[in-house]
Symmetry: C2
């Protein structure tokens, strides 16, 4: 097949960094969960903002869709080329451009991954705290407003992106925000592009906040007889002002997965996994006060991990919970849900979900970022089994309904992508129409990650 005029122009721009091989297209049509493969017509590997701008201009002229690609770890199919076109892979724009230690900020390119970033920062005494578990790209994390285990202390991507460079749908390049820590100068465009999932433009540079590596770190696990007292302990801890760096909930089924895959040797009961950051004295005090709160709530079996290697093992296990759960049912595909509710409603949200899954035909361990009211069920489905897929869909829909009924959101951190579009009208009402107005104002031809976030593009 002869290349289209658009692809020919892109090929002139990028040379062999425009790839149309079946292997590369298929690799960029795959996702981590249950969405069908949707390969683009070509994959572009730009190296500069100027190239991204010219690429987008060419696509705009020819009406070719443009979809950004980071590390491919999205769980809602955000980066799948629903309407074909070009997928822009930022693998060659993955550098740290500048670290400003005194300002505690860095300028980075969107393709760098979380782990590579922190490796580069190690010698500076600073680190980037947002940690979704997966080794995602920072551009992808910004675009989905990612968060994860440390958001309870350090915030989400919304809180840790200070400024952006963005290539708009017509190829113009804008800079939003500055390296100053705050501003009241106009509409918060930085906040608008963070979480926009590439539907308003492509992020080509990010100025992120850094944080001091904590002097002392202490982590622990403890067991609870049920979910409710664990949540009570978390609420009491937050209200007493103890600054937890992480506080994670895992249910008995997730612990069973840890035991099976990681030989964790934990009692198969609900657990909290916690971490404290600070000065040695502050961490010791926080740990002691947390221990008192847990004891009062009926928690038990505290195990402290004060050594770095023990902590690394603990959080590696937590980060790989998705794979541990998958291994509970070899060959299964996961539907990963993601709801977030006000903390006061978390215990009932989890308990209702638990009961729902217990009565269903498929397993679904539950775990979550309990300090934020955010939790996931990992619904394990036999890929060939239509009835199970229907069951997973029904359970996920009921979780989303429940989250809305309890005053929460259908996605705490994974984003909308292809999986949550059907809930946008219900969550936002007329606010979703406003999102559509903004989309049409910034991308009138509807070429930036089309088919996502809003309707009618």
């Amino acid at each position: 097949m002869a290349p289209s005029p658009a692809l020919a122009e892109l090929s002139t721009l990028l040379g062999d960094r425009l790839v149309t091989s079946a292997a590369d297209r298929e690799a960029h049509g795959r996702n981590e969960t249950h969405f069908p493969a949707l390969p683009p017509e070509a994959v572009a590997y730009p190296e500069t903002t100027e190239e991204v701008s010219r690429l987008v201009s060419i696509c705009a002229r020819h009406g070719l869709p443009v979809t950004g690609w980071g590390a491919g770890t999205s769980l809602e199919g955000h980066a799948l080329a629903l309407h074909g076109g070009v997928t822009v892979d930022f693998a060659r724009m993955a550098r740290v451009l500048e670290v400003r230690s005194e300002d505690m900020v860095a300028r980075i390119q969107p393709g760098i991954t979380r782990e590579a970033l922190n490796t580069e920062l190690r010698a500076t005494g600073l680190f980037f705290p947002v940690d979704p578990g997966a080794n995602a790209s920072l551009g992808g994390m910004a675009s989905t407003r990612a968060s994860g285990t440390t958001a309870v202390r350090y915030g989400t991507m919304r809180d840790n992106v200070l400024a952006l460079e963005v290539v708009l749908a017509d190829g113009r390049v804008i800079r939003t925000g500055t390296a100053a820590r705050k501003s009241s100068a106009g509409y918060d465009l930085t906040g608008l592009f963070v979480g926009a999932e590439g539907t308003l433009g492509l992020i080509t540079e990010i100025t992120i906040r850094l944080h001091g590596q904590p002097e002392a770190v202490s982590a622990a696990v403890c067991a609870f007889p049920a979910m409710a007292p664990a949540v009570e302990a978390v609420i009491a801890t937050i209200q007493s002002g103890i600054p937890m760096a992480r506080i994670e909930f895992v249910d008995a089924a997730t612990v069973a997965a840890f035991n099976q895959r990681d030989h964790a040797g934990m009692p198969e009961e609900p657990h909290l996994l916690v971490e404290f950051h600070g000065s040695p004295a502050a961490v010791a005090e926080q740990a002691e006060r947390f221990g008192e709160i847990v004891a009062e709530a009926g928690g038990r079996g505290f195990q402290w991990a004060d050594k770095a290697e023990d902590r690394a093992r603990l959080w590696r296990m937590r980060h790989n919970a998705y794979y541990a759960c998958l291994a509970l049912r070899p060959g299964a595909t996961a539907w990963v849900t993601d709801v977030c509710v006000p903390i006061s409603r978390l215990a009932e949200a989890v308990e209702e979900t638990r009961a729902d899954i217990a009565a269903a035909s498929i397993p679904g361990p539950i775990l979550g970022h309990v300090g934020d009211g955010n939790f996931h069920a990992i619904l394990l489905v036999d890929p060939g089994n239509e009835a199970e897929a229907t069951e997973a869909k029904r359970l996920a829909a009921r979780m989303a309904d429940r989250a809305l009924r309890l005053g929460g959101t259908v996605t705490g951190e994974h984003g909308i992508g292809m999986g949550k579009l059907d809930y946008m009208a219900r969550e936002h009402g007329a606010g979703w129409e406003i999102m559509g107005d903004i989309k049409r104002a910034l991308d009138p031809a509807g070429l930036m990650n089309p088919g996502k976030m809003v309707r009618g593009n």
Copy 2:
């Protein structure tokens, strides 16, 4: 003069809560600084969101401008009726609607003031930390993305508004966000309306984050031989992870104003004013480590204010710095500037500003939120003196230029209003065009606080 058909309709809607008396119109045409009086045609006092919606619909039908009004403490003339129309005063929508202690959030109406809010919260053990000094309304604080002395620890309004109810330009009512602590569900509309200065809609309800009242509080003042070592001490403190609750800089001229008005008895040198929040042990440790850093940087003359009444006196003095500075030159009007730069550039920004003012014909004490890189000069102008106004304008322009040159922003917390519109193109480049696109998408007739934020409406 017979009322216009629009005002007649509004009068039917609101009865005697639509006021056209000269006194009330003039009171809503005044501002705290140097902008000329711009009274609206009428002042409306709605009591419900439904009334605001109907009011805005009537104005939309008749092409009448709508400008929101909180407590009138804005420093950039945001709430002045530049194109006439109706000013919507939220004085009768000033209630706390709900406090959810377990979730640490409250739903409030926009007219409530910061002090009234915290008085109502006192018994809950929670407080709302954002503190711009003035007893501003929360609706105004949200609309200008206000911050102040505590932002270094608790963040700005951007960080402390979780959800909004907004009446759009066509009268539709939307809800953005939820009481859940985070969400990845779509464009961040909450963040878009925070800081929009009423140009995209009127905020009719706010869900705010609350924080636990600190168990222990300690405050101190200390003197420095110059600005640079004070900033060095601040950078070192932030980098070492000491969580300051406030850290304020005042220059020698500001201290002179404190001495004159408040009999502060402080040496007339640059000072830092700090506060720590936490457990008694944590506060003691933070204070000790801060003392070491200050001593190393050449600071001296530490005075601790551990008693609540001493702290109250200290922060009252700081909050009234504006009035203390005004009293340095009886009868003067103030031009209050507001720039924010990356902290690494703060010392040079302040020193250059200091030198500029020293060489000018008018006085201008400098003070600021040094932990954020944000500072103000209070330029004191004889109101009848055209040459002095020109001088103030020149100094303010040079401060804004300097902030942009040093990678900062022309307003850290006061907003754009009427005073900073001329800098928008320079600070944002093509980003300002995008703001215009958003404005036209949400308010095509240009009736929401017209003449502000963007051009061409």
